[in-house]
């Protein structure tokens, strides 16, 4: 018994400790000066989703029609990294960039999702992301005087690619570029851009140059030829130079754009959502208020209805809530308005488990067991109910998570973690604390405090 009581005390202290952690980290990160690096306590703020922090949500469609099926994943990953580099330079704190693979539910489209919290100048953001250049190397079209290519796209617009008849695309694109540097031509003083390809790119370049000696190889940027040199010899080592009457500023911009990574695949913007920060702050405040009120309401209910076990449930619930908050900080879990709703709902569910156990306990008490035995049996028999009824919620949460959009995933994750932790906290913490109340005798005192609702515990069975 003493051991149980000591463990209970330890858990209580741990709970207080976790609560302190949550409190301290939140205060520290709020006091952080903007732009300063976070150290120590301040490293664990709550991560807020776009609908709470305000910001921009962009969905791009990636055009992978030019790629083989097995190249798609690598290209999408490289696209993701590219955009991330771009966005990081832009100075967004905690941007979220994800790929949604083409699949059954996507209608086969490859998507890129970019979340920029706190960014309200959407036009600039889209500019920065969208304008990464597409670098291509094309060789002469062997068919002389080929007819011009005309394409009709999904909206019924006619586009003519004036260069397709002259030049044919090769495999060598900006994907294989390692680095671009700004240089000045020794003789003319012109600004030029030196390109260094990676290993694969160097091999490709070697192949292209060796196959096209005496012919022109055109360097295309964003669909326009910027340089059409003639190949004199096979070039190994993967170095090329673009000279195209650039002004120094143009060359500098081009080098920077190329280094951010020429986009491996072209992207089009198909969806934007911006949430103003005012709405975000309102939503957060309201969410926190609702959470506190909901918690208080439950505490009152538990006290009034279940009395002494109710007090234990309240302690167990508080520890549960504090653990959940700490998990949000440490994982971290991005909180959206729906996520806060999910957390509040999970508090309700956490109570469920306790209620199931108490009701079972009451039944055992009514059957005539003493307090200690009814706790024991109550738990054993209630555990099955708790487990089964929570598994259905878990199934729902997992499927919701798969559903995909960040808004829903925010809810699903919080809900899932909430249900699991609530099960654990009910059967471990609540049980432990109840065992510390191991009253062997049944007295009027225990009857009142273990009864519930309007009755006391000892009720004659009809």
């Amino acid at each position: 018994m003493l051991k149980t009581r000591i463990i209970a005390l330890v858990i209580l202290l741990l709970g207080v400790g976790v609560g302190f952690f949550v409190y301290k980290t939140e205060i520290s990160s709020r006091n952080l000066a903007p732009g300063a690096t976070a150290t120590g306590w301040a490293k664990y703020p709550f991560r807020l989703g776009l609908d709470l922090s305000g910001g921009t949500h962009l969905v791009y469609k990636a055009d992978v029609s030019g790629l083989d099926a097995n190249q798609v994943k690598a290209s999408m990953d490289s696209l993701r990294d590219n955009i991330e580099r771009r966005v990081n330079i832009f100075g967004v704190s905690e941007p979220l960039i994800q790929i949604q693979n083409g699949g059954f539910s996507n209608a086969g489209e490859e998507r890129l999702i970019v979340d920029l919290p706190g960014i309200t100048d959407v036009a600039k953001a889209i500019d920065t992301i969208g304008k990464t250049p597409i670098l291509e190397f094309r060789t002469e079209n062997p068919i002389k005087d080929a007819p011009q290519e005309a394409k009709i796209d999904e909206n019924g617009n006619l586009t003519i690619d004036p260069y397709a008849s002259q030049f044919v695309k090769t495999e060598l694109t900006g994907r294989y570029l390692d680095k671009a540097t700004l240089n000045f031509d020794q003789k003319t003083g012109e600004a030029i851009v030196s390109l260094q390809f990676d290993d694969e790119g160097s091999k490709l370049f070697e192949k292209i140059t060796s196959e096209n000696i005496g012919k022109t190889v055109a360097i295309f940027l964003d669909g326009q030829p910027i340089s059409v040199p003639t190949v004199n010899e096979k070039i190994t080592g993967g170095q090329a130079v673009i000279s195209g009457s650039f002004t120094p500023q143009e060359a500098k911009d081009l080098v920077q754009n190329l280094n951010f990574g020429a986009l491996p695949v072209p992207i089009t913007l198909i969806s934007t959502e911006t949430i103003g920060p005012i709405l975000g702050v309102q939503a957060t405040k309201a969410g926190v208020t609702a959470g506190i009120i909901g918690f208080l309401a439950i505490i009152i209910f538990l006290f009034l209805w279940y009395r002494l076990p109710g007090l234990i449930a309240v302690i167990s619930l508080s520890i549960y809530a504090v653990i959940m908050l700490a998990i949000f900080k440490l994982l971290p879990v991005t909180l959206t308005a729906a996520g806060i709703a999910g957390f509040i709902i999970s508090i309700g569910i956490a109570v469920d488990a306790n209620v199931l156990i108490f009701e079972r306990m009451k039944e055992e008490l009514r059957k005539g067991d003493n307090v200690s035995d009814s706790i024991h049996h109550g738990f054993k028999r209630a555990w099955l109910s708790v487990r089964d009824s929570n598994i259905s919620s878990i199934i729902t949460a997992i499927i919701l998570f798969w559903f995909g959009t960040p808004l829903i995933q925010g809810f699903a994750l919080v809900f899932l973690i909430g249900v699991v932790i609530s099960m654990i906290s009910a059967i471990s913490i609540t049980r432990l604390f109840l065992y510390t109340l191991n009253f062997k005798k049944t007295t009027k005192f225990t009857n009142f405090f273990f009864g519930s609702g309007l009755s006391s515990a000892k009720v004659d069975i009809k």
Binding site: S271, G276, T284, G287, T289, F295, F301, I344, S392, I395
Partner: protein
């Protein structure tokens, strides 16, 4: 036993509620928001004087954006809905609205994104329903007499459908009166109701299962009836706690989750109702039908 003795009445009540809801859905129609249809939504707020609705419509007309729906929002704002537009088009709208107009919120959803959401919603719904049937059939597999385990699952699904149709019917009504639309959060609410309400039904079935195993009572009907007596406080208490927090969300929570919480509250309430007053009576009726067939 009261509930089982009057099982026909309770099943009829449920049937009536469901019919009303279906009628509401057909009559009032379900308003799908831009999340599903695609399109754009621009919410603006004026800092001092708010122009009239027709002034706004006149100001935007020259931009040739097709059909526009302008609705007042609160005291000082408007929500403007059009087909999905580019940023430049949004900026021209903002320009034509005047200097004192401030942008609160802008969403533009391409049609393919909307269609994807519809697809995913339907698939998720089917998956959750299947998941639940299998889980119940599995966890009740040892209780195949007198009613086989998958029938428990089926009855649970019937009560779930009841739990989902009624909130949707109410949403159609709310949509008609307040202009509430179906968005992603509504789908999340429905799926959550599925998960939560079935857990309540399981609490009841669980007790029935235990009493069958112990063999306390003579007939199946008596088993179900007495089980209900034993668990109804428990069932109500567990749902009550979730409803308390949901109400806190409805009244004090963020505006964006208000209708989400309302739908969940309605769903939770009917979820409990259906576990006690619908699922168990149906179980007894199924058993009675089975026995009649055998004889």
């Amino acid at each position: 036993m009261f509930i089982i003795k009057n099982k026909k009445i309770f099943v009829i009540i449920s049937a009536v509620l469901v019919s009303f809801s279906i009628f509401s859905m057909i009559f009032f129609g379900l308003k799908f928001g831009i999340d599903f249809k695609g399109g754009s939504l621009l919410e603006v707020q004026y800092s001092d004087v708010r122009p009239t609705q027709s002034e706004i419509e006149e100001a935007i007309k020259p931009l040739s954006l097709g059909s526009i729906v302008v609705q007042p929002m609160g005291e000082m704002g408007y929500s403007i809905k059009t087909r999905d537009i580019t940023l430049e088009e949004k900026n021209s709208i903002m320009g034509s609205l005047g200097e004192t107009a401030e942008e609160l919120n802008f969403n533009s959803i391409g049609p393919s994104v909307g269609a994807e959401l519809v697809r995913k919603s339907i698939i998720s719904f089917i998956l959750v329903v299947l998941g639940i049937i299998f889980w119940i059939a599995f966890s009740f597999r040892k209780v195949s007499k007198p009613v086989s385990s998958w029938k428990y699952g089926l009855i649970a699904i019937v009560s779930l459908i009841h739990d989902v149709i009624i909130p949707t019917g109410i949403l159609a009504l709310l949509g008609y009166i307040y202009g509430v639309e179906i968005d992603t959060l509504f789908v999340v609410a429905i799926l959550t109701i599925l998960g939560l309400s079935v857990s309540d039904t399981i609490v009841v079935f669980d007790r029935i299962r235990e009493n069958i195993r112990i063999g306390n009572f003579k007939t199946f009907e008596e088993t179900v009836g007495r089980s209900l007596d034993q668990v109804y406080t428990r069932s109500i208490a567990t749902s009550f706690t979730v409803i308390i927090v949901l109400l806190a969300l409805v009244f004090f929570g963020p505006a964006s989750t208000k209708f989400f919480a309302i739908i969940l509250t309605v769903g939770m309430f009917f979820g409990t109702y259906s576990s006690i007053f619908l699922a168990s009576p149906l179980l007894v009726m199924v058993n009675n039908l089975q026995t009649k067939k055998k004889n």
